[in-house]
Symmetry: D2
Subunit: 295 residues, 4 copies
């Protein structure tokens, strides 16, 4: 039980505002990149709170993330950075305080519940624009938090039609990311290609991984001692997109299939939560089929 | 993304109903206790789903937990068990499907949010009767879930008066446990003695433990690499009651005090959630100042 | 830095002697089994230090493990237990203080090193009879600890011939288990069937699992955030035998393939060590393709 | 069981050689430091494999670590860096492939065993010059690996005399670090001040931390659910020096005091091993009473 001094502090610091501006750079590696970037920032008399770089030496690829203490003219800075960086450089300057997201769900509440609570108390790092469900089960909890819920059934529908209905709804919203919070339909390549590295999925996945209809029952029959979850960007290759976060929970022989599912849900919730935080704070770079993450 | 077969299964199995009846026994150890208990159950032709025992050989203390497949006459069974067990035996037979709880809070939402969501979807293993807060901040979220919220301020009040007001409110409810979900007031011995092993608290606690006004700042200054949380029963000895669950999260030098707090909240939420599940499923025995837990 | 009182204690307690005798029982489940077993033990006036049971309700299979405080006549007790248990009951009574093992290796030292050190200080829970290697690399370290090392090359040999040479060497030793401590040859069904549930292997395995020639490179290319290891009994189905222990280590984008291997070795060492302890203390039951483990 | 392609790879990559040269810089923070450093390196046409920085904004303190692809003239580079950095800058340029260490022990073998095995197979990242023990127990295992062992008893000796004897032995060796691998004597301030941030200790430490004569017994009586270990630099303040690594293992009510000790030793071994790797690779900076670690 903390005393009053502490919890005052809690409310001063929370939600956490790390910096006024972040810059993410990805380009081919060459000598002098860090000097070029930091030289420019120094010249502009901008204070760097933190700077992180990584070089993938195999791929000759350079990554940098800067947190700046003041809000500068993003367009001007982008222009100046472009001038000192290789032509292929991907520069992202983020000045917005909060990302916007749309959440897709089916019936399971555990990931959505966590998102809605954090969204309500403004600690999600993003604001939920709406929720789309292919079942009605989660409508009520969305309404409790005044979040628009759209029921779009997949039943007796061609996948194209189903996805088109989702797209029509999405068009009425601005959003940075689509979060699949236990959305149990496989999205088509056609759909996904509109949102490259913008769709985040949470995937149950085991050690070893089980494929097919009933992974938890398979895991139970195999007597695994760990179950896990993987949060990843969605690409054409089903459940094979760049990994953002992974975590596990120990299980044992006393766990029924149902117990494993319950443990699985907890770890799914935690892992998605971690991944969303990393993405919303612009800490994740994607290249090839993997990620660089400056935690 | 699981297919439809799986998530049908999810809803069949969830919430998890393990057994119709559990029996918890604690007494002095002697030869033949397991035989006596299991012999009686066999004689009654009751099917044992699981039986767990533990003997603390230092203390000569015996613990057993049985899950039974059918609902028997609890009073009769209690009577019969008493006849074959040592006179000091503490026998608890639990036939109720769900515990009842009251939650005490201050301003922080993270533990309460998790409890409310699980309560709403009936996977908490207990039903929240009401929430009492010494601040108004969390009133709104309780109302969203139609949970009565009582604002009882501690300001300008003698502790006795403050606790009396809480007691008056508690009297209007039946409950099995009081959950302190980041309740930031220290309860008096007088209050606690009415609820022996019935009050569950979540405590930030570090490796090493920091005492005093501002533990997270102390932890930050010391450069710890792990932060943790402890869920425990509340006793007279402040933050020293029997431990139910503990967990940690790794941190590093890039964590500000605020980041440590955020990580601390996540681990507090998870640890309290785990402890509540164990208690609500009658898996926790208390003796001396510690617990035996049949997970 | 502990004081002198503590480390006196360390040497009193270590190596750990848990009990004088353990009994492991596995049979079809029926009402009254626990009563029958514990009744018999009580009748014999033997003190039970601990008793653990588990019922796999799906399979109607019963498992029990007892630790007894005194050494009884094992044969007589086996006989008496057989009389009160179902005909299919598998009863194992262990009175020996220490198991005997043979270790098979290739070139990597990390698992063998841990085994040799613990063996030398008599805390392995088993004594190493000899080491067989299909390379000479680890001969020297075995000699340092006066452990016989047999170099049996697989080069330019039919697998049958190779395995026959191993069998000839094994025949000169008594042993309870064969430990594959990074033995990089796949054993034939013919070989394995002589040692059912007697061969323990440590397997690198990832989340998700990677199959084929170069799992660490694959894991690196996929950008996994966890790497793991699985210790299991070896069966006909390659790397698919009953799992004894699993564990993971977090990794990130800064890990090269070589770094992943190094982290992988640490987790392999720890996981095999854990599995061996469980097996040597008779805590592991095998049935179907999985394990029940009374930790 | 990996195939032959993999283990060929293992031996190419292991031991791991990350870079030819590392530079560690610590100084007061000011605008343009990264630009100054990386500008200089670029000007010298040296390829940076990786560069990491951190700013402690509270303390206005800047930290950087660079890995360079080629071995430059360290003295010249140091001179040039000094010219572009604040006057208080601490610059360390490391070109040596391997650190040298002396290990101090008492009776427990678990940490020393791990160090000796890794030292033997040249994967420790340092070479053990000698071992000093205040008991004779560990002499034999050192001799097996041809490591000089000095028995220096503390019995019936003034601490000053005891430490003097250690110092005399140390003088005959060159070493970078002193590793206290379960050395159970408290070193005096007088001794320690000769080796600031050069002595690394492994400390059992619990959640919550227990102080005094018998921490494991205290932990057992308190029924903790986690036990841990902390590796730290030794300073005047007993067990309070800058933390390098911390880790925990879960325990439960079935653990005896002896079981807790065994689990404690495993986690001590792992935690010290991790800390040594970080220190030997020059990844650890010390300031105030804490560390910045570029993992």
């Amino acid at each position: 039980m903390l005393n009053t001094i502490l919890y005052s502090l809690v409310f001063i610091f929370d939600p956490i505002k790390q910096s006024d501006m972040t810059i993410n750079i990805q380009c081919v590696d060459k000598v002098g990149l860090v000097a070029a970037i930091s030289g420019l920032i120094a010249q502009e008399h901008i204070n760097i709170i933190s700077m992180r770089e990584h070089v993938d030496t195999d791929q000759q690829r350079f990554f940098a993330r800067l947190e700046l203490a003041s809000k500068e003219d993003a367009q001007l800075l982008h222009h100046k950075l472009k001038a000192v960086l290789p032509v292929d450089a991907i520069i992202k300057i983020n000045t917005v305080d909060e990302k916007k997201i749309v959440v897709l769900v089916t019936k399971e509440y555990h990931c959505l519940g966590d998102i809605l609570i954090k969204n309500h108390f403004k600690t999600l790092g993003a604001s939920v624009q709406c929720v789309i469900g292919n079942h009605q089960v989660l409508k009520e909890v969305c309404q409790k938090f005044d979040i628009p819920f759209y029921f779009i059934s997949h039943v007796d529908k061609d996948k194209k039609v189903f996805e088109n209905e989702i797209k029509v709804t999405l068009k009425t919203y601005k959003f940075d990311y689509l979060v699949l919070a236990k959305f149990m339909r496989i999205l088509s390549s056609d759909f996904i290609k509109n949102f490259t590295h913008k769709i985040i999925n949470i995937h149950h996945s085991f050690l070893p991984a089980f494929i097919g209809a009933n992974p938890y029952r398979q895991a139970h029959e195999r007597g695994v001692k760990l179950i896990g979850a993987t949060a990843h960007f969605v690409t054409d290759h089903l459940d094979e997109g760049p990994i953002i976060a992974q975590n596990i929970n120990p299980v044992n022989h006393t766990f029924s299939v149902a117990d494993m599912m319950r443990a699985g849900k907890e770890i799914e919730k935690t892992t998605l939560s971690k991944a969303l935080q990393l993405v919303f704070e612009d800490r994740v770079f994607v290249y090839l089929n993997k990620t660089v993450i400056f935690e």
